[in-house]
Each structure stands twice: as structure tokens, then as C-alpha cells.
Amino acid sequence: MPDVQIRKRLTVVEEIFHEGGPVATTPLKRAAALAIIHNPYAGKYVSDIASFMDDLKPLGLGMAQALVAALGGNPKNIEGYGKGAIVGSAGELEHGALWHVPGGYAMREILGDAKAIVASTKKVGGPGTRLDVPITHINASYVRSHFDAMEVGLNDAPRADEILLALVMTTGPRVHARVGGLKASEIKGEDGLR
């Protein structure tokens, strides 16, 4: 099993007070945790890569915990989440897919009983590539007020033989959400969708 070698971490916390409308009584917070790791499969085609998902589990848990801490420490305040990966140029998109299980399950584990699938995106790119990480409600994917995204990236990552892994959490709806649809207060919470 390859080790997970971390070159760099980045935590970003955004606090949004308004976007031209009324100032929110509780500002929306969004946070992203990024880890830049060495890609053990860079530069070659490797058929059996799935075991690396297990190696990534502790990293995912650590990042999810760091996000909750960055957003005030109480998992109950987390309402939205998402995840993503940018694979450096010597890797393939499939290496980014290794993040689905350890990244997603880490957040659901830390948040208790989160029911919705974790929205995700991935791509191959060079240093400075930006990634728009999609965000949805943690218990019901259709909650329209919580559809959001957070742009993340780092000027010096990912290098060719690296993978940038990202987890994102938010504390609420878009700051001026007003386009209707399923409301957070109407969630049944059975199927992760509504």
C-alpha cells in the first residue's frame, strides 16, 4: 500500500454578510480544506488502484474534522457539503475518482447521519487550476436554497505528480436565497433526496 505523502494543506473560510441585499443576521460561512498529496500512480497506467482509497481514509477524516472546527466546532451547524479533486498532468482522471469514497464517507461520518450523496467534481490540471466544488444540502439533495459552489485552488498545485484533494462545508443557504423549491424545513430525510 502506498503511503499518503502530504506536501501542503490549505484551509479557506469565507464569511458572507450580504451580496447587495439585506445583511444576514447570521452570516453564511463556507469552508474548504485542501490537501496536496503525491500521486503514487503518476506517469504510468496502473490497473489496480482501488486500495489507495483505504489509505486516504484517515486523511479524509482529518480534513472533515478540520472543516467542522473551522466552522465553529459543532457538526450540527453544517448544512451543505461537497468534494472535488484536481489531478496533476502526469495522472489520469480516474485517480481523482479515488477520492469519492474516503472524502464523502469521512464527511458523512463526522456529521453523524448525513443522508444526501456528496456532490462532487474533478479534473486534470496544472498548478493554479481552479475547481468549482459543487455544494448541496447534507440531508436532501433537492433543497434548492443550498445549491451552491465554492471555488478553490492553489497557485503552486497540483504539480504533475500530485493530486489536490478538496472537501467543502457550509453553514446554510445562499445568503439571499429566494428562488423557491424544496425548503430545508420541508425535508423528509428518508432517501437523501427530499
Partner: protein, 194 residues
């Protein structure tokens, strides 16, 4: 507070290794960024004293946020820097009014000291513009290991009538410094230079 803040973002970067060589403890730096309304957007105003007051407020706010994101006492901060980006309806002089007359004093109060000039950069730009915040040792500008820079950006700022203001602090210099010059253990700390 005079500053009308739309958004605050805090970034924390940790470098754990470079070229497979461990950086122990990791080199850490934090930047706090505020997105504010530009009270003088779209017109020429001679007296910029309101922006100077805003600079004073933001100096304290952003230095406090950045230091607390590193989780260290203010007096253990090693280097610092500041920067501003003015939206397209403002002028470069607006950034100067925020950064230069009054922002430094509260920053130094948060850090306990800060004999050296706070390195700075400024520009005008659109949404997503990149700010390269220059960094230098807070007590002796000539400490070569601490010459550095930190890139920050926000995809949705600055809007035309906004200004983005950033303060960055570190707990260390570059990850593996080895180009000689004045070292931090040689600092006299009297004139802010050596």
C-alpha cells in the same frame, strides 16, 4: 464601523514538504481578506480620510483574524504583509489610502511589535484578480529567509464598486531557506532593517 463589509475570507497554508524533504514543523502562513464597499467608487474625491479610517479598522480586524487562524500568540508571528485590489470603478489611490496611513498601527498592536515596514502591493482589477501579498520579517526587513509572497484571490471580488483588502502573517519564513543573508537569530530589531 465605517467599513461596509460584504465578505471576509481567511486562508491558512501549511507546507509539509518540498522535493520530498520534510519541513518540520510545517511552514505556515495565513491571510485574512475583507471585501468592502468603495465609498468613492465612480467619482474623483479629493479627501480620502474615510478610507484611511477604514484602513485602521481593517488593520485590527484582519490581523486578529489571521493570527487567530494560525492559533499562535501575536508576538510569535515572524513575517507579515498587506495588499489591496480596487474594483474597476475605483482608483489606485483608494488602495493607498487604506493601506498606508493608518492600517499598520493596529496590525503592530495585535503582534506586540513590528519594527519593519509592512511590505505591500496594490492593483486595480476585476472579479477573481490575484493578489500577491509580499511578505517580510516583521522586525528586520533584511532577514533573507523571510522574503516571500502569498497569493490570494476570491472569484467574486472585487466587484466594480468594491475594494479587497488583505493582511498576511506567518509563523516562519520560506520552507527550506538556504540562500544566506541575515538570519533571524542575528536580528537587532532596532531600526526595522537588521
Amino acid at each position: 464601523m465605517k467599513a461596509a463589509i460584504r465578505k471576509i475570507a481567511v486562508f491558512v497554508e501549511e507546507t509539509h514538504s518540498e522535493m520530498d524533504r520534510k519541513v518540520d514543523p510545517p511552514a505556515r502562513r495565513a491571510a485574512a481578506v475583507a471585501v468592502i464597499q468603495n465609498p468613492f467608487a465612480g467619482k474623483y474625491v479629493d479627501d480620502l480620510s474615510d478610507l484611511m479610517t477604514i484602513g485602521e479598522e481593517l488593520g485590527e480586524l484582519l490581523a486578529t483574524r489571521a493570527v487567530s487562524a494560525l492559533g499562535i500568540p501575536g508576538n510569535t508571528v515572524e513575517s507579515y504583509g498587506k495588499a489591496a485590489a480596487v474594483g474597476e470603478n475605483g482608483e489606485l489611490e483608494h488602495a493607498a489610502a487604506i493601506l498606508h496611513p493608518k492600517l499598520g498601527t493596529p496590525v503592530r498592536r495585535v503582534l506586540g511589535k513590528g519594527a519593519a515596514l509592512i511590505p505591500s502591493s496594490k492593483k486595480r482589477g476585476g472579479l477573481g484578480v490575484v493578489l500577491d501579498i509580499p511578505l517580510g520579517h516583521k522586525d528586520a526587513a533584511f532577514v533573507r529567509s523571510h522574503f516571500d509572497g502569498m497569493e490570494v484571490r476570491l472569484n467574486d471580488a472585487p466587484r466594480a464598486n468594491e475594494i479587497m483588502v488583505a493582511v498576511a502573517v506567518t509563523d516562519s519564513g520560506r520552507p527550506l531557506p538556504r540562500v544566506g543573508g541575515l538570519t533571524k537569530d542575528q536580528i537587532k530589531g532596532e531600526d526595522g532593517l537588521r
